[in-house]
Structure formats: structure tokens, C-alpha cells
Symmetry: C2
Subunit: 150 residues, 2 copies
Amino acid sequence: MDPEKLSSGTCPISRGLALVSDAWSALILRDAGWGMTQFDQFRASLGIAPNILSRRLRALTEAGVLEKRRYSERPPRDEYVLTQAGREFLPILATIGEWGRRHNGCGTPLSHLVDDETGERVKAIVVDEATGRRFEQLPVRLVMPEGFDA
Amino acid sequence: MDPEKLSSGTCPISRGLALVSDAWSALILRDAGWGMTQFDQFRASLGIAPNILSRRLRALTEAGVLEKRRYSERPPRDEYVLTQAGREFLPILATIGEWGRRHNGCGTPLSHLVDDETGERVKAIVVDEATGRRFEQLPVRLVMPEGFDA
């Protein structure tokens, strides 16, 4: 799907999806969140074809979610690290993980996250910032910007 | 990307992405969350080619995120409504929306959500369920299921 078209309207969800628009991109960010930086690391982790990986890394870099850094001049080698925007996508991945566990877990043993200091299981949920209420329990209404119809 | 492959490992994020794996699918769920149910409504909202929309609706139905219901026998007409799993994806879309606003807003007027009862702006954030701490501030560590390597 065309990132420019996704970024053209008034919907912020669509604008988010313009930057990370498919499963490969999301999984690359997941792996970058665990410290992977190199092409071969992503390729081995994801079992992804090199040309598809190149394309996704380029798109994520252009989207400002990854930053490409040259770490060796001879031979020329680049690495990819999360930008601030990329790091801020990681909590979203954690919510997708909890949702995936609930609805596509199939009774299989799955990985999970713990607080590295306390060792306690952590579980990502979505709440309203101001009230702390669970988002799925909120009666929400969409407000369009002035001059736009829903 | 192959949903079966995405569902084959120990990663719950990958399993979530197996069910909703691209921007079109996410936007269909967004529109279903605002009450759209019919093929022509999705098509008009998304400006999507009919064959692509058909394929996505079928995949989302097979994934258990949408339910297909026959609402007219003559002529035969189906509608698509969110399942419990589909409804539980909506808070994730709200977090993608806040992220998209922050990192791809481009100074453009965008829509936002309000509490339908109080009229107050609501903003989706991700926290740890047990402690209420912001997820991006947590030092998290990945724990693999027994017998699996990271």
C-alpha cells in the first residue's frame, strides 16, 4: 500500500501504518528492539529473502523509524538502529504480542516479557493516559478536524 | 507473508501479526470499529480495489477477527462484523494512531478520540497491567518457554 496515500488524510492510524505497514517491517523493529543491527542478523532471525529485507530496511529508514549508520568503511558495512520513533513503536508491538497470545496462541509455549529488575511478568495493556481506564471499556467518539467530514 | 509461518514459532508478536498482517487489514478493522459492515462501505472508505478487499475480508474472517453474516438471501449479501478478537484489536489501533500523530503528523489537522460521555480527549498509551508503569520506561527482558533458545 502506498505510504503517501496512507499519509494523505486526517486519520492518525493511517499515518502510523504509513511508516510500519506490514508484518516484516514490524518484525524487523521487534528484532532491532532486542539489539539486532546487522543485515545478516535480521536475515537469520526472520528467514527473509535478502531483496525483501533490503527493501524493508530502506523503507523503515526513509520512514525515520530506523537510522542507517556506516560502521565499517572497508569493506563498506551499514548497521540499522532504532530512532526515537522506532523505540516508541516497541510498546505497540508488546500489545500486539499480548493480543496474539490470546487469540492465536493455540496452546503452544510462547515467550513472554519480565521486568528485568524485579523478574515479574509484565503485560502490555492499553489505557487512557488521563484517567488510566482500560481503553476497550471507554465509550469513544471520533472527532474530525474542523472543516472535515467523518 | 505466510500466516502459517508467522504462527509457527514461540513469538506472540508474530502470532498477532499472522492475524492482521498489513495496513489494509488494520484499516478494515478500524472502519469495522466505527460500525461499517458492508463491502461497499469498506470500498468507499478505503478506496481499495474490489479484489484486494475481497481477499482481505476473507483472510480476516479466516483469522477469526471478523465474522461473516448473511443478511440477505435474495440477493445473497454478506456483512462483516468484528468478533471479540477483532474488538480487542481496536485499542492497538488507537496506540498506532497516537504514534502516527507524533511521528507522521506533519502539522496537518488530524482526527482524535474523545470520551463520548465526558467529551474529554482520550489518548491511548501502553502500560504494564500490574504496576501501571509506562511500558517504554520498563526495563524488559525476553523469557523463552522452557526448552527453547532465544
